[in-house]
C-alpha cells in the first residue's frame, strides 16, 4: 500500500457516513438509531454522520427481519454502496427474527443469508449506547488495508 493510500484511509476512517435501512422491524430499533443523534449520545462528535443515503455510505445499519417486500431490493441497495463498506445488524430481528420467527410468519431471517453482516448488536431494541459502541468498534475496520481496486 502506498503512503498516499494509507494517509487517505486514515483520514477517511475519521469521517464515517452511516445509512440505515429498515427491512421489516417494529420501528423500535429505528427510533433508537435516531436517538443516537440526540445531544446526549451525540454520534457526530465521533466523526460519524448519519445521512440516510446509501450512495455515500460506509456503514449500513440493517434493521428488521427481512420481509418479502425487500426480496432482491436489499441486495440491490447493498451493491449501490461504494466500496469499502460494512453492514451492521441492529437488534434481534436481523440476527434471529426475534418474536416474528414463528410458524406462519412472512419474514425470512437472518439477514446474513442475503448480505454479509460484519457485526451484530443484539437486544430488542438495543440501547443507543450499545448501537454507538458497535458503530465505533466497526468504523476503524472499514478502511483498514483498503486499496482501490483496478
Amino acid at each position: 500500500m502506498t503512503l498516499l493510500q494509507s494517509l487517505k484511509n486514515f483520514v477517511r476512517s475519521k469521517s464515517i457516513h452511516v445509512a440505515y435501512v429498515d427491512v421489516g422491524s417494529c420501528n423500535g430499533c429505528d427510533v433508537e438509531v435516531l436517538a443516537c443523534l440526540a445531544p446526549r449520545y451525540d454520534i457526530e462528535q465521533y466523526g460519524i454522520f448519519v445521512h440516510n443515503n446509501p450512495r455515500e455510505a460506509d456503514v449500513l445499519l440493517v434493521i428488521g427481519a427481512y420481509t418479502p417486500g425487500w426480496e432482491g431490493k436489499l441486495e440491490g441497495l447493498w451493491e449501490k454502496i461504494p466500496d469499502p463498506k460494512v453492514a451492521v445488524a441492529i437488534g434481534n430481528c436481523p440476527i434471529s427474527g426475534c418474536l416474528f420467527n414463528r410458524p406462519h410468519t412472512l419474514v425470512d431471517p437472518p439477514v446474513s443469508k442475503h448480505i454479509p453482516i460484519a457485526a451484530q448488536v443484539p437486544g430488542c431494541p438495543p440501547r443507543p449506547t450499545e448501537i454507538l459502541s458497535a458503530i465505533l468498534s466497526v468504523a476503524p475496520l472499514v478502511y483498514r488495508d483498503y486499496e482501490v481496486r483496478k
Binding site: C26, V31, A35, P39, F100
Partner: protein, 362 residues
C-alpha cells in the same frame, strides 16, 4: 379526463427523511403536485397470523411489536380488551399508573414526530432540542418500567411494577423541567418566520376532507374534529376530566402545534394522576377466558382498535388490529398532497401527518 403530467416522481423507499420504508409516487407538472399515491408493502410481517393460537403472555409482546414507537398503547389496548371481555377488575392505583405510562409514551411519540418534521424542513436546531427532551421522557419511562421502548408494563389485572415514592418525586421534577422546555420550543416553532414559511398554509386538510378521509388523531384534531379522541370514552381519563383540544387551520403548522399542545396536556394529566394516586395494590389477578370483543383506545396517532376472539383457555383464536396510520396516510396522499406547490414540501407534508409504516402493515 386528459391530464398533462410532466413526470411521475417516486419518493422513497429509502429516503433521508423517512424512518421507515414506503414509497410515495407523485405525479407532477413542473413543481406542482397533481396527485400522489402511496405504495406500501415493505414491512408486512404477518403479526396477526403469528398471534393466533397463543396465550396473552405471548400476544402481549407481539402486540407491542406491532409498533415500536407507540408500543405502550398497543399493550394497553390489548390488555384492556381482554379485561373488559373477561370482566377483570383493575385496582385504582394500577389504572392511574397505566395513564401515567401511556401519557409518557404519547409525549415521546409526539416529540419524535415533531423532531422528524423539524428535521425534514431542515430546522435541525429545534429538532435536536426536541430529541434532548425526548431522552428525558424516556428516562422517566425507563425509571418506572425498566425499558426505554418496549416497556411491557401492563398485564391483565394490573401493572408489573409499582411507582416508588422517590421515582414519583423525580417524575414531578422532570415534568416541571419538560413543561418549561416544551413551552420554550412551542414558542420557537410558533414564532419562527422561516418555519412559518415552510409550514403555514401547506398541505391543508379541511374539516370536511378530514371527515371524508376518516382522519384520526392529531391530524383530525388539527382540522377541527376534537370528538375523534378515544380518550373521551376511557373511564380513567373521564375521571381525570379530560377534554380534547383542537385547532382549525388544518395545515402542517397546525398539526405540529397540535402535538406540542398535546404534550403540555399530557404533562398536566400526569400531574393530576400523581396528585390523586392512592396507596393500594397494583395487581388484581385474573385470567382471561373465552369471549369476543372489539375495543379501541387513543394511540399517539389516533384511534387504535383491536378485535379479539379467545377460547376457553384464554388463547387468541382470531385477532384483527386496526391502526390509525392507514387512515392518516390515505388522508395525506389524497387530500394534503394534491395541490402542494413544490416537490420540496412533499416529504414535510407526509411527515407532518406522522405516518407509522410498521403499524400500518404489521
Amino acid at each position: 379526463m386528459k391530464r398533462t403530467v410532466d413526470v411521475s416522481i417516486p419518493v422513497g423507499p429509502v429516503h433521508p427523511c423517512w424512518k421507515e420504508p414506503t414509497r410515495v409516487k407523485c405525479e407532477t407538472r413542473g413543481e406542482f403536485v397533481l396527485s400522489a399515491e402511496v405504495e406500501l408493502g415493505y414491512m408486512k410481517k404477518g403479526i396477526e397470523r403469528i398471534m393466533q393460537g397463543r396465550p396473552w403472555q405471548e400476544v402481549m409482546f407481539l402486540a407491542e411489536r406491532v409498533c415500536g414507537i407507540c408500543s405502550v398503547i398497543h399493550n394497553m389496548v390489548f390488555i384492556e380488551a381482554l379485561e373488559k371481555m373477561s370482566s377483570i377488575e383493575v385496582p385504582e392505583r394500577a389504572a392511574l399508573l397505566r395513564v401515567i405510562v401511556n401519557e409518557l409514551d404519547r409525549m415521546q411519540s409526539h416529540i419524535l414526530a415533531n423532531f422528524s418534521y423539524c428535521y425534514t424542513i431542515e430546522h435541525e436546531t429545534l429538532g435536536m432540542y426536541l430529541l434532548d427532551s425526548r431522552e428525558k421522557v424516556l428516562d422517566e419511562l425507563e425509571r418506572i418500567t425498566g425499558a426505554r421502548i418496549t416497556c411491557a408494563y401492563m398485564v391483565p389485572g394490573g401493572v408489573r411494577f409499582d411507582l416508588r415514592s422517590e421515582d414519583a418525586l423525580h417524575l414531578r421534577a422532570s415534568m416541571d423541567m419538560l413543561e418549561k422546555e416544551i413551552t420554550r420550543y412551542t414558542g420557537m416553532f410558533e414564532h419562527g418566520p422561516l418555519i412559518a414559511l415552510r409550514s403555514r398554509g401547506i398541505g391543508i386538510l379541511t374539516r370536511d376532507a378530514a371527515r371524508e378521509a376518516c382522519a384520526v388523531g392529531p391530524t383530525a384534531r388539527a382540522s377541527g374534529l376534537p370528538e375523534s379522541d378515544r380518550r373521551l370514552h376511557h373511564p380513567t381519563y373521564r375521571k381525570l376530566g379530560f377534554t380534547p383540544i383542537s385547532r382549525e387551520e388544518g395545515d402542517n403548522f397546525a398539526r405540529i402545534m397540535m402535538r406540542f399542545q398535546e404534550m403540555l396536556q399530557s404533562i398536566s394529566l400526569i400531574r393530576k394522576c400523581l396528585d390523586i394516586l392512592p396507596v393500594g395494590p397494583i395487581r388484581g389477578g385474573g385470567i382471561p377466558g373465552a369471549g369476543e370483543i372489539a375495543y379501541s383506545g387513543e394511540a399517539p396517532r389516533g384511534e387504535l382498535s383491536y378485535f379479539i376472539r379467545t377460547d376457553a383457555a384464554g388463547r387468541v383464536i382470531d385477532i384483527a388490529i386496526q391502526t390509525p396510520s392507514i387512515m392518516n396516510i390515505e388522508a395525506c396522499c389524497h387530500y394534503m398532497l394534491t395541490g402542494v406547490a413544490s416537490m420540496a414540501d412533499v416529504p414535510s407534508t407526509f411527515v407532518s401527518s406522522d405516518p407509522c409504516i410498521a403499524c400500518t402493515e404489521r
